[in-house]
C-alpha cells in the first residue's frame, strides 16, 4: 500500500501515545506492552481514514472534521452520581460499572457481588491475570488493519471487564456506563478517550448487558470505544447499546462478537448522539447453531451524521443472522446503513436477513443504505431490503379525521415507527429512559421537519 500523503492526523496522537507508554510500560505485563506497540504501529501507518474514494468502509462518512479536531489526553475528570442517574438509564438493582474518561471508578460503580459474575476494572483484571484476559483481550479487535481498533488498542489501559461463569444465569442486567466528564483539568475542553470493554460469557450462561455512552460536557469529545464479546457455547447474551453523546462530539465505536455453538446474541442499538456517530458491529458465527439478531434505532437531526456498519460472518453451518435497523432523520442530517452478511463455503443451511427502514422528515436529510450479501455456500436462505420514505398525508388525514390534531398526529406516527425497536429494551428503567429520550428527540426532529403532510 502506498500513501500519496502522510497518514492523516497521526502526529496529534503520537505525543499522547509516547507519554502513555512511558507511564504504563513499567506497570503493564509484557504481553500488553507488545500489543499496544503493535497496535500503534498499525495506527501510525493507517492514520484517520479520511480518504473515501476506493474505501468501502468509509465511503459515506467524511472523517475530515475529526481528523482536523484537536483533543487533549488529560487525566480522568470527576463526575457525580446524580449526573449519571439523570443523564442515562439507571437502576440500583443492576450491577453497574462506571468508567469515567476511560478509567474505572470504584466510587461510582454499583456492584452487588452477584454470584456467577465477575465485574469491575479491566486494569485490575489485567494486573491480577484473572480469567482468560490475556488470551481474549484484543484477540477479536486490535490486531487487524483497522485504524480505530488499532488506536484504541494502542491506548489500552483500563475500562470494564465482565465475566459470567458457566451455567450462570443472571436475573438482573449488568450495565457499563462510559462517561466523558466535563473539561479536562488542564483547561482543554476537548478530550479523547478510548473505552474498552471485555465480556466473557461462559458456557450456557445468560446475561443482559447494557452499554451506555454519555457525555457530561458541552464541548466536542472524541470517544473511540472497543468492545469484545465472547459468547460461549449455549450462552444467551442480550446486549443494549445506548449512545447519546452531545451533538459536537465524535463517537467511533467498534463491537466484535465471537459466538460459539448454539449461542444466541441479540443486540439493539439506540443511537441519538454525536456529531459523527459510528456503530460498527461484527458478529462471527464461529460454530454451528449460533444465532444473532442485530437491531437498532438511529435518530438524527441538525447536522448530525450516524453510521451503522453492521456485519455478520457465517463460518459454520446451521447458523442464522438477522439485521434490522430503523432510522428517523430530520434537518440536514445524514445516516448510513451498511449491512453485510458473508456466508462462507462451509456454512450450509444458513439463514440470513437484512432490513433497513428509514423515515425522512425533511428534504435536507439523506440516507445511504447499502445492504449486501456475499454468499459462498449453496444451501442458504437469505433476504435483504432497504427503504426510505416520508410520512404521507393520507395517513395523517386518517388520524386527523379522528380528532387528533396535526402536530399530535405527526408525533404519533413517528413514535409508532420507532415503537418496535423500543420494545426491545426490556429492563424497565432502560425502557423508560429510551422512551423519554425518544419522545424528546421526536419533538426536536419534528421542529426541523418540512416534508410531513406535504405530498
Amino acid at each position: 500500500m502506498t500513501f500519496a500523503t502522510v497518514p492523516a492526523a497521526v502526529e496529534k496522537y503520537s505525543t499522547a501515545f509516547e507519554a502513555a507508554e512511558t507511564r504504563k510500560n513499567s506497570e503493564s505485563p509484557a504481553w500488553l506492552n507488545s500489543t499496544r506497540r503493535q497496535a500503534w504501529a498499525t495506527f501510525s501507518e493507517l492514520g484517520i481514514p479520511t480518504r473515501r474514494r476506493g474505501n468501502e468502509l468509509w465511503k459515506y462518512t467524511n472523517l475530515r472534521p475529526l481528523a482536523e479536531a484537536e483533543f487533549s489526553f488529560g487525566e480522568a475528570g470527576s463526575v457525580s452520581l446524580d449526573a449519571l442517574k439523570s443523564n442515562g438509564p439507571w437502576d440500583d438493582s443492576w450491577d453497574t460499572i462506571v468508567v469515567v474518561d476511560g478509567v474505572y471508578s470504584d466510587s461510582l460503580s454499583n456492584l452487588h457481588g452477584t454470584s456467577g459474575l465477575v465485574a469491575g476494572s479491566l486494569a485490575s483484571a489485567i494486573s491480577s491475570g484473572s480469567g482468560e484476559v490475556e488470551r481474549l483481550l484484543s484477540s477479536l479487535a486490535g490486531r487487524e488493519e483497522y485504524a480505530f481498533t488499532a488506536l484504541n488498542t494502542a491506548f489500552i489501559d483500563d475500562g470494564a471487564y465482565v465475566q459470567i461463569a458457566e451455567d450462570s444465569s443472571l436475573d438482573s442486567p449488568v450495565q457499563v456506563v462510559f462517561v466523558t466528564s466535563g473539561p479536562g483539568h488542564d483547561g482543554d475542553s476537548s478530550r479523547a478517550t478510548y473505552p474498552r470493554l471485555l465480556v466473557d460469557a461462559g458456557e450456557n450462561s445468560s446475561l443482559t448487558l447494557i452499554e451506555t455512552y454519555i457525555n457530561l460536557s458541552g464541548s466536542a469529545q472524541l470517544t473511540v470505544p472497543v468492545v469484545e464479546i465472547f459468547a460461549g457455547r449455549g450462552s444467551v447474551v442480550r446486549h443494549h447499546r445506548v449512545q447519546m453523546e452531545n451533538e459536537q462530539s465524535f463517537h467511533i465505536g467498534t463491537t466484535r462478537v465471537n459466538q460459539l455453538a448454539d449461542s444466541t446474541f441479540s443486540s439493539t442499538t439506540f443511537a441519538v448522539g454525536a456529531s459523527i456517530g459510528r456503530n460498527d458491529i461484527h458478529t462471527q458465527l464461529a460454530e454451528p447453531g449460533a444465532e444473532c439478531t442485530l437491531r437498532g434505532l438511529y435518530m438524527t437531526g441538525g447536522q448530525q451524521h450516524q453510521d451503522q456498519e453492521i456485519s455478520t460472518t457465517h463460518a459454520k453451518p446451521h447458523c442464522s443472522s438477522h439485521q434490522y435497523y430503523k432510522g428517523i432523520l430530520s434537518g440536514r442530517s445524514r445516516a448510513v446503513f451498511s449491512g453485510k452478511v458473508v456466508v462462507e463455503r462451509d456454512a450450509q443451511k444458513s439463514i440470513a436477513d437484512q432490513k433497513d427502514l428509514n423515515l425522512l422528515l425533511s428534504r435536507g436529510a439523506e440516507i445511504d443504505a447499502k445492504p449486501s450479501l456475499e454468499i459462498y455456500a449453496d444451501d442458504v436462505k437469505a433476504a435483504h431490503g432497504a427503504t426510505a420514505g416520508h410520512v404521507d398525508r393520507n395517513t395523517l388525514f386518517y388520524l386527523q379525521s379522528r380528532g387528533i390534531d396535526e402536530d399530535a398526529a405527526k408525533a404519533m406516527l413517528v413514535r409508532g415507527f420507532a415503537e418496535e425497536m423500543l420494545d426491545d429494551f426490556k429492563p424497565k428503567a432502560l425502557r423508560d429512559f429510551v422512551e423519554r429520550v425518544t419522545d424528546y428527540r421526536i419533538k426536536i426532529l419534528l421542529d426541523e421537519s418540512d416534508t410531513i403532510g406535504t405530498a
Binding site: Y398, Q400, S401, G403, I404, D405, E419, E420
Partner: protein
C-alpha cells in the same frame, strides 16, 4: 344537521380537475342518506371533502354543519364537532395500537370541547365491550393499527371506531367494498344499532347490496359530480335493476 350548498371541488394543484360540480344536499337529524353512483362520479371525493381532506380544494359553495360553515376547518376540528369518516382504505399505522389511538382521539375531542377526559379504567371497559360487539379478534387490536389486517378486519376496525367515537354525523365511504356477506352484516348491524333521532348517516356506495341491510331514508344518484336524482329507497332498487345508464350522457357507459 348538514347542509351542502352548490359545492364545487377540485384536486389541489391540478388545473381543470373539478370533480364536484355544484352539489346541493340537506341531511336532517336522524336521517340515513345513501349516495350512489358509478365509478368516477365523485361520490368518494364528496365523502372526503366533507371531512376536509387536503388533497381537494373547495372552489365554490359551502358546507354547513348545524348552520355553521366548516369548509375552512381542519379535519380534527370537524371531528370535534361530531363528524366521522369510515374510510374505504383505512391507513395502516405501524407501532400505534388501536386502544392507544382511540384513547388519544377521545382525549383530543374532550380537550377541544372542554370536557373531562375518560379515565383509563372506564375507557378500557368501553373498548373491550365494543371490541366484542363489533366482533374483532381481541388479539388483533393489540397489534398495530390496521397493519396486516385483512380487508374485512379493517372495516370492522372502522366500525369499532364509529362505535367508540359515537359521532353525530357518520360518513361511510364505500365501507361495503371488498366485504363478504358476514362482514357486510356486521357493518349494517353496527350502523342500524347506532341509528337514533340525533345521529345522521351518509352512506356512499357503488352497489345496492349494503342497502339490503341498511334501509336509507333518502337515496341520491351522483353522476359526473352532480346529483341527478333524489328519491326514496326504491331508487336504489331501480339502480340495481337498470344500472346507472339512465343518468349518463348519451354514449357514455358505466
Amino acid at each position: 344537521m348538514l347542509e351542502i350548498k352548490n359545492l364545487q371541488a377540485s384536486v389541489v394543484d391540478i388545473e381543470d380537475s373539478e370533480i364536484l360540480r355544484g352539489i346541493d344536499l340537506r341531511v336532517n337529524k336522524g336521517e340515513v342518506h345513501a349516495i350512489m353512483g358509478p365509478n368516477g362520479s365523485g361520490k368518494s371525493t364528496l365523502a372526503n371533502v366533507l371531512m376536509g381532506r387536503l388533497d381537494y380544494e373547495v372552489t365554490g359553495g359551502d358546507i354547513l354543519l348545524e348552520g355553521k360553515s366548516i369548509v375552512d376547518l381542519p379535519p380534527e376540528q370537524r371531528a370535534h364537532l361530531g363528524m366521522f369518516l369510515a374510510f374505504q382504505y383505512p391507513a395502516e399505522i405501524p407501532g400505534v395500537r388501536p386502544w392507544q389511538f382511540l384513547k388519544a382521539a377521545l382525549d383530543a375531542r374532550a380537550d377541544a370541547r372542554g370536557e373531562e377526559k375518560m379515565t383509563v379504567r372506564n375507557f378500557s371497559k368501553l373498548f373491550d365491550e365494543k371490541v366484542e360487539a363489533v366482533g374483532i379478534n381481541p388479539q388483533l387490536v393489540k397489534r398495530s393499527l390496521n397493519e396486516g389486517f385483512s380487508g374485512g378486519e379493517k372495516k370492522r376496525n372502522e366500525m369499532l371506531q364509529l362505535e367508540i367515537l359515537q359521532p353525530s354525523l357518520a360518513i361511510l365511504d364505500e365501507t361495503d367494498s371488498g366485504l363478504d356477506v358476514d362482514a357486510l352484516r356486521i357493518v349494517a348491524e353496527g350502523v342500524n344499532s347506532m341509528r337514533s333521532p340525533d345521529r345522521s348517516f351518509i352512506i356512499v356506495t357503488h352497489y345496492q347490496r349494503l342497502l339490503n341491510y341498511i334501509r336509507p331514508d333518502v337515496v341520491h344518484i351522483l353522476v359526473q359530480g352532480k346529483i341527478m336524482k333524489t328519491g326514496g329507497p326504491e331508487l336504489a332498487l331501480e339502480v340495481e335493476k337498470d344500472g346507472y345508464r339512465n343518468y349518463l350522457p348519451a354514449g357514455a357507459t358505466a
